[in-house]
Subunit: 219 residues, 2 copies
């Protein structure tokens, strides 16, 4: 299968980046095609707006949704955004690899979804979303590093259950477009853990990836 | 009081922008000091990373958290980021005015929080968060426009309850830093509503704002 890894971390030697490397090794060794989208290295522009389009149909009133629909019908997205859309179309499996910043993705990754998941291209509320979503044949999965402990993200944790915290990603974004969302993997509190714990995380992560065909989607 | 309005919409004539204008009028008329942070007009850079700092203490391994702590102790944030932090310190009330994009804020606003809520400045996990948070004397509130209907964001709605969807903002971001989070206001499905409905939304929003002293914080 074709695997697109969205990776958002400013330090290539970080543990989050090591998790990305484990995924690349795993999928490559298993014979899959892997494409890494290293958003920081790409200097990806996450700000959705007029810059997404070759031309604007209504210069007097910019409606992001209307311009997206128009661009989808006329091949009107700028080349670098079109290239990102093509990567998503190509992918059977989308892996989101990121540190949890303010209970969500870093802005550089949030903006990838703001821009790439354009109306018309990725969904249409009246026709294609959730079970009938355009990307219902694709699978997606989050691989996350956190500052907090597993307990703090547990059912009674002070941060709220992690599953609830990232509902806006797994359900509100990935599943909205029809993707089958597999259970996430977490490197807990990675920035404070000793080397041997981090190495064990990577072993555990490899096992998680080896087992993905047996994982029941969350959505 | 001092009111900081964070506004994220690419079209000044949008309904989301009209909601911002209602808030400006309301708070100004009531004798408050109002500062509008129009993130699109400012061309705000939402990508947190090395660019946040005047210098990097460890050029061989970039740790965002460690650099934030170091910069907080040495006044080492770049001037434009320091200016945003000063605005937040100045504010008694922070209003987040945005369209719901993928169950969250547009990336340009997400990145404002990624960068401004720096470790040391905005919180320290071991000391200052939630009830003991640094910003416990500040209030915050979201004013949101949605593509979906109230029913779709209701308790049994297909998008999930809106309160759950934006938990990562209200609880995971604002309350994490100690802010008292007031109930949000929503302009439902604004892009599809006729003029008279939008005008009624603005009347309702003004009433919501007039009543904020009586609103019980969600957190």
């Amino acid at each position: 299968m074709n695997v697109l890894i969205l990776h958002a971390h400013p330090e290539p030697k970080s543990f989050t980046s090591a998790m990305k490397d484990v995924a690349v090794d795993h999928f490559t060794s298993a014979g899959h095609n892997v494409l890494v989208n290293d958003l920081y290295a790409m200097n990806f522009n996450p700000v959705g707006g007029k810059g997404d389009f070759k031309s604007i149909t209504n210069p007097d009133f910019f409606s992001y949704l209307k311009e997206q629909i128009a661009a989808f019908k006329t091949d009107g997205f700028v080349d670098d955004l079109k290239a990102e859309m093509d990567k998503l179309l190509w992918a059977d499996f989308i892996l989101l690899n990121f540190p949890l910043w303010w209970s969500s993705m870093p802005a550089i990754m949030k903006g990838w979804f703001d821009r790439v998941l354009a109306l018309g291209f990725a969904y249409h509320p009246a026709e294609s979303k959730f079970l009938t979503g355009k990307f219902r044949d694709k699978k997606a999965m989050c691989a996350i590093t956190t500052g907090g402990t597993p307990e703090s993200y547990g059912p009674d944790g002070e941060n709220g259950n992690l599953e609830s915290v990232i509902y806006h990603i797994n359900h509100g974004t990935l599943y909205y477009c029809g993707m089958q969302v597999l259970p996430y993997f977490v490197g807990w509190r990675a920035h404070l853990k000793p080397k041997e714990v981090l190495e064990q995380y990577l072993v555990d992560y490899k096992k998680h990836l080896e087992n993905i065909d047996n994982l029941k989607p969350l959505y």
